[in-house]
């Protein structure tokens, strides 16, 4: 079954809920290697997103994603704002005109998001950022797709890839973002942005399962 507009809407709403529930957790992760606001930032951003989307009953997939992007840019207040903002904006552009998303469309969506984050933050994988969850998630999705997995399985593979990637950030030294101010001392801590990325993918998996 392809992903519908309703699934995307459910995903974004669910993301808001999940990030709200994980506000303290993400903020605590950020307190170890940053400025203790990542949970606050993401919660604030997605609350604004969902308030905005509530008034947009007729929006299609692309519009939902773009609106999420611009709203995150305007409301998050931290580095994750322009980063996730660009990710969702590019995802919106990549899905223009689509009423549903097949596996290939979903991978295209996330590849566009990945390119957006890379372009915005000038980071590569291995620098202990959200990229280290997103990039392996997409790799896993592609492998699952090559192995003829269903769309639901592909998304499950993304979640698993993001989980592995997020946990791998623990051993990384941060070279981008505030955590880079800690240098070697950033080792031993899980990156908050990678963690929120993993949570967002988990929310997508749950929305698709639900559907």
């Amino acid at each position: 079954m392809p992903v519908t507009t309703g699934d995307i809407r459910d995903w974004i709403q669910r993301s808001g809920q999940v990030l709200h529930e994980n506000n303290a957790y993400l903020t605590q992760l950020d307190s170890a290697i940053g400025d203790a606001d990542h949970g606050i930032n993401m919660d604030r951003g997605f609350q604004a997103v969902n308030k905005k989307l509530a008034g947009m009953e007729e929006a299609d997939i692309s519009t939902l994603l773009k609106t999420t992007g611009t709203t995150l840019v305007s409301t998050v207040g931290g580095a994750s704002g322009p980063l996730y903002g660009t990710a969702f904006l590019r995802a919106g552009v990549a899905t223009a005109g689509k009423q549903t998303l097949e596996s290939a469309d979903l991978i295209t969506l996330f590849e566009a998001a990945l390119e957006g984050v890379k372009a915005r933050g000038k980071a590569q994988t291995g620098e202990k950022t959200m990229l280290d969850a997103l990039a392996p998630a997409i790799e896993a999705a592609k492998q699952a797709q090559a192995a003829q997995a269903s769309l639901a399985q592909i998304v499950q593979a993304m979640v698993a890839g993001a989980e592995v990637g997020t946990k791998a950030t623990i051993e990384m030294t941060a070279t981008k973002g505030r955590a880079s101010y800690l240098g070697e001392r950033s080792v031993g801590h899980q990156d908050p942005g990678a963690t929120s990325c993993w949570l967002l993918l988990q929310a997508l998996a749950d929305s698709i399962k639900q559907a």
Partner: protein
């Protein structure tokens, strides 16, 4: 008209303080616009504040943007992307230290220097003497 200056900071007080300090050296001859804190007044950056400050400090001679931390660069770039190409070309994002760069940029801008000269003056802030030289 002088080159305009924009101060982007995660803290509203910090941005205003820098503008106050730099403004003392430019005697009101230079527009120093601030974008400090988030829209709801907490610590962070706001694209709307940055865009408004860019507008306020906009000058035919150009605008120099100074930032407190690297993480403010991205939101500043997104604010710049909202400008038309011609306006965008007249803006430089400085990598200079915020306070020192802003003071030196304000001095330079008040002398009617070009954007390039103001940007270079700000860069002298990297090694502004703070021993006994000044």
């Amino acid at each position: 008209m002088a080159v305009g200056i924009v101060i982007v900071s995660h803290s509203a007080r910090l941005a205003e303080g820098v503008a106050e300090l730099a403004g003392q050296m430019s005697m009101g001859e230079v527009t120093i616009a601030v974008a400090g804190g988030t829209d709801d007044g907490s610590i962070g950056t706001s694209i709307d504040k940055v865009a408004a400050a860019l507008q306020k400090a906009s000058s035919p001679d150009g605008t120099l943007v100074l930032l407190d931390l690297g993480s403010a660069v991205m939101i500043t770039e997104m604010a710049l992307e909202m400008l038309d190409a011609q306006e965008k070309e007249r803006v430089i994002i400085s990598t200079a230290p915020l306070v020192e760069g802003a003071v030196l940029a304000a001095v330079e801008a008040s002398a009617g220097s070009t954007l390039q000269e103001v940007a270079e003056a700000a860069n002298n802030g990297h090694d502004m003497p703070k021993g006994h030289q000044a």
